[in-house]
Subunit: 169 residues, 4 copies
């Protein structure tokens, strides 16, 4: 089936904890993505996800939240999610988050975020890291598409570059 | 977490076969949903899904396609999908299609559609049927939310009514 | 990859409600499957699933339960499940239940069971129905592999025949 | 529902590549797990998974393979899988692999394995690492249940200890 080029989408992943120190960083990333005309995809919950979505909406961008639960009662989307997707599949939804994006930006994060980095790279999605990540894997793995950024602005710039030549173009 | 009311979303499910006789019906349903300001959710593929999405886009509506594959190469969205979600989970994505809607409209369809009707009702989503469906289940099951409609216009009218009092409101 | 023939596995699906009148039927089915040397696959919960697994274990058969939750706390397997699989994916686990079998036997049941019938037939697994099922689908669909049985004994006999020529052989 | 204690199950995750240098290590791990009476859970494919399952079967142990595909045609289990589970959900099956075990042993591996480590720890399953893993996450995360082992024997010993007090006991 012929289809027009997909709209560029970038996923922001990170901790859902409400006290995450990375929230201002996430808000800046979300805003910059929206200004670049990019759809923000995230897990739809709080913390880094809520901050990124808030930034994106403030700049008039589109926000998609792919949630673990079966509906708003067991999985309320954060207030800045424009398109909520309820999967009912718990953390298996992490796969849909990364596949629905051209590139993934990880802003801090813990074990759930680690799983998203793994799933993204497994499926060829480049990953840009913000925060104190240090990942060394035993297998000889292609690292060119796992990039550390020093600021939210740099992360977005790198992500937009990678999206242009990404696996969905 | 407090969140604003979700935007009303209605899923259209049915055969992906390109020769489905239900395509004109689906296009009418999609158009009517868009005119009512409702987001169209579907499985993102061809046949009934493509026709419904085309109708919705013609009327300026929002269209979400929740796809089985891992990206546009193995799961190209139909040309009228505005927000493509790639799940990489095959037919397990049927669960996300129905959970992401207030009400499901089934327009003809086969086994995949039957699974969506079951998953929708299991999770309390009302289902409106168009086409020659006849479903009798052994368990005493609540039928009030499984409704037969006689025309695309009636299906949309019933669906909008059911959405207003639906499980996500 | 060459692999030895898969062990024959038959899924039993049906209501999880503890008051299901179909429990004696399910127990008979489970016992007969075990006597035929077949692995019983089910959703691992109560009602029909528990009765079928109990029957199978009484006859020394193998029982696999594919559960919706993330572990025994949120998804306790019934006491006759020998191999519990925790998916953490809610009702999306229904897909794994039917795909892990050569044939599916539906013993009564409601909406969840209906979704399993649809997913099974979508993927070419024959389905044997016990109880008051009446299913007519709009699409011209292959009905030869959707068979009504009149007794648990007949259901097992038909299922074993269908498994022999089934999609996994 | 009361249920008897679950049988102890340990997942072995790692590269599916047939040239993995970790295959002898995996075979030793599989054998030791079987001798301890533990069920081996894995992704059912080649490489490390096949080697671990082969070791387990040689010692008479039970082996469960949770596969990404819809059946033996698109997802042939390795020849040592006793109980094949077909999920049809691609890499989302990684969640079921780790949830179906008390503890996870990662033997080398790449991005898919990284996702399994993340999902395991997210759900409280301890992880034992063999091979050159170096993982530092930004969030303050509990590391006590992420343990490096120096040999296959040590990995199994640690895993058995952790299983005894694990999240499913």
């Amino acid at each position: 089936m012929i289809h027009p080029p997909l709209p560029v989408a970038i996923a922001v992943v990170g901790s859902g904890a409400s006290d995450s120190a990375m929230k201002p960083v996430a808000e800046t990333v979300g805003r910059a993505l929206a200004r670049a005309g990019v759809t923000l995809v995230c897990g739809g919950r709080g913390g880094v996800m809520a901050a990124a979505a808030r930034g994106a909406r403030q700049a008039g961008g589109r926000t998609v939240g792919i949630l673990p639960g079966t509906g708003p009662d067991d999985s309320p989307p954060n207030p800045s999610i424009e398109v909520p997707i309820f999967t009912g599949m718990g953390q298996a939804r992490n796969l849909a988050v990364v596949l629905s994006a051209d590139v993934v930006i990880a802003i801090g994060g813990g074990w759930g975020t680690l799983s998203e980095i793994g799933l993204a790279r497994k499926h060829g999605r480049p990953v840009v890291l913000l925060g104190n990540w240090h990942l060394e894997l035993p297998d000889k793995v292609d690292d060119r598409n796992l990039v550390h950024a020093k600021s939210p602005e740099e992360a977005v710039e790198i992500a937009l570059d990678l999206a242009r030549d990404g696996p969905r173009r």
